[in-house]
């Protein structure tokens, strides 16, 4: 009897601790967001032109603007939560943010744990390297070293197609990946076009050029599972922004080309 009592109180303590850390089920997030009047959005801070610190240190970019569009559509205040690609999923899963707008690509693994909105931005990833290295396809990667940002689509794709002799160096965030490339620690990188553009913008002695396309993978907004009202509302806001040209203007402003008409819904 005393033993089972101890166990019960232990369980209660653990349950309370877990509840306090936010590992609990949520009701439909739309109600919570409307009630609190604040939308918490996970946005990139190391990923221009999608999200980075502007000259005055305020966040700027395609994803930041998109977060503004969603918050305006919901009629609530916007709270930006800076994340890196490796921790954006845990932030959503532990209820530190309501939605992820952080160049999130759609994968079956991710779809098993979170839900996705309609696509809101174009994006593709590829293997990049200096002109001196000839790489036409996955087979040419044998015996080489390639850098990726851990947990990204490129990481998963390269891991899938990698020849046995390819060394994959995984870095914590895009800034470190860029440093690794610029310092010559990795001659090749697998990443999204924005990172390659960011490296070229620094005018390095060795400029990365596209070697081969890994994946065309538009960006989606990620939200916790089983929130039909929030999902429907966000999709409606995206549809309006596509129709009235707002997303097209953002694409011109940040990416330098028009919004592709075939973004998946």
């Amino acid at each position: 009897m005393p033993q089972s009592l101890t166990r019960a109180s232990l369980l209660a303590t653990v349950a309370a601790a877990l509840a306090a850390t936010g590992l609990v089920a949520r009701a439909d997030g739309l109600d919570d967001i409307t009630k609190s009047g604040v939308l918490r959005v996970a946005v990139p801070q190391d990923f221009p032109p999608f999200g980075s610190a502007g000259p005055d240190m305020t966040p700027q970019g395609y994803d930041i603007d998109m977060a503004g569009v969603i918050a305006k559509g919901l009629g609530v205040k916007l709270q930006l939560v800076p994340v890196v690609s490796a921790n954006r999923m845990p932030y959503l899963q532990t209820n530190k943010v309501d939605i992820i707008i952080s160049t999130l690509g759609k994968t079956p693994e991710r779809a098993a744990v979170i839900d996705f909105s309609a696509a809101y931005a174009p994006y593709y990833s590829a293997v990049f390297g200096p002109p001196s290295i000839v790489v036409r396809g996955p087979a040419d990667l044998a015996g080489r070293t390639i850098g990726v940002t851990r947990g990204t689509l490129e990481d998963i794709e390269v891991t899938k197609i990698a020849p046995a002799t390819l060394t994959i160096s995984r870095f914590e965030d895009n800034a470190t990946l860029i440093t690794a490339f610029l310092s010559g620690q990795v001659p090749l990188i697998a990443t999204g076009t924005p990172v390659a553009a960011a490296i070229n913008a620094k005018n390095p002695p060795v400029k990365p050029a596209k070697k081969f396309l890994l994946k065309d993978s538009p960006c989606f907004i990620g939200l916790a599972k089983n929130q039909p009202k929030l999902l429907a509302k966000i999709n409606a806001i995206i549809a309006v922004a596509k129709k009235d040209g707002e997303l097209n203007a953002m694409s011109h402003k940040w990416l330098g080309y028009p919004l592709p008409p075939d973004l998946p819904v």
């Binding site: 509840a19 845990p90 693994e109 947990g151 998963i156 870095f171 440093t179 690794a180 310092s183």
Partner: protein, 220 residues
């Protein structure tokens, strides 16, 4: 409460965890031996009769002990290639751990040496031992015996501190955790398991060091 623990989601990654733990153990073991050697040489250098040697040792100790380990790691891995010194992530991690431990060990060993009574050294010299013999047998061994507990604490700190080497893509235990988490998104289970592994490693290292200490510094 609806969060379901899925420890079975780790089962496909046991080899990743094992490889990560192995690298952490190997790097710690090498850094411990090499760092202790640097510590003894450094402590001797700080007591050297030659002023430039003393100064050099002092600069090394102050430089390392007053800068963050992560910055030292980045300097070696990302900075040194600019002057043509290119190390792999594992080499850079080992070098950073050894250099870092060496500086702390120097100070710890020096404290031990300082605690040896001057009369003991004079006794050794008056018995006809050379200065080198006095340092090795009269000074160093009792000095190490005195500071051995703090030395082993520093070894454990280096092992735990090595978790940041995943930042330069070295594939240690923390890297394994981050890698698995980025694949199955089971952060709770992964970090729970890896925390337990670190704990076991630290306790095992401590027991090992205590065993070694009991043998080496056994009272006769």
């Amino acid at each position: 409460m609806t969060y379901q623990l899925h420890f079975e989601s780790l089962s496909g990654y046991l080899d990743v965890l094992a490889r990560g733990a192995a690298l952490t153990i190997v790097l710690t073991a090498i850094a411990t031996v090499a760092g202790l050697a640097i510590g003894v040489i450094g402590a001797a250098a700080r007591r050297s009769a030659l002023a430039p040697v003393r100064a050099l040792a002092a600069v090394y100790v102050e430089l390392i002990r007053n800068t963050p380990f992560l910055v030292q790691l980045f300097f070696i891995y990302f900075g040194l290639p600019s002057i043509g010194v290119k190390l792999t992530a594992d080499e850079a991690a080992l070098l950073a751990m050894t250099v870092n431990l060496g500086a702390y060990a120097t100070e710890i060993v020096r404290a031990g040496i300082a605690s040896i009574a001057k009369g003991q050294i004079e006794a050794g010299l008056s018995l006809g031992l050379s200065r080198r013999q006095v340092f090795l047998h009269v000074v160093l061994k009792p000095a190490l015996a005195k500071i051995y507990p703090s030395l082993t604490s520093q070894f454990i700190i280096v092992m735990l501190g090595s978790s940041v080497i995943s930042q330069i893509s070295a594939e240690d235990l923390t890297y394994a955790a981050n890698y698995i988490q980025s694949r199955n998104f089971r952060s709770f289970e992964v970090y729970f398991a890896v925390t337990a592994i670190y704990l076991v490693l630290a306790i095992a290292f401590r027991a090992l060091f205590r065993g070694i200490g009991n043998r080496v510094f056994a009272r006769r």
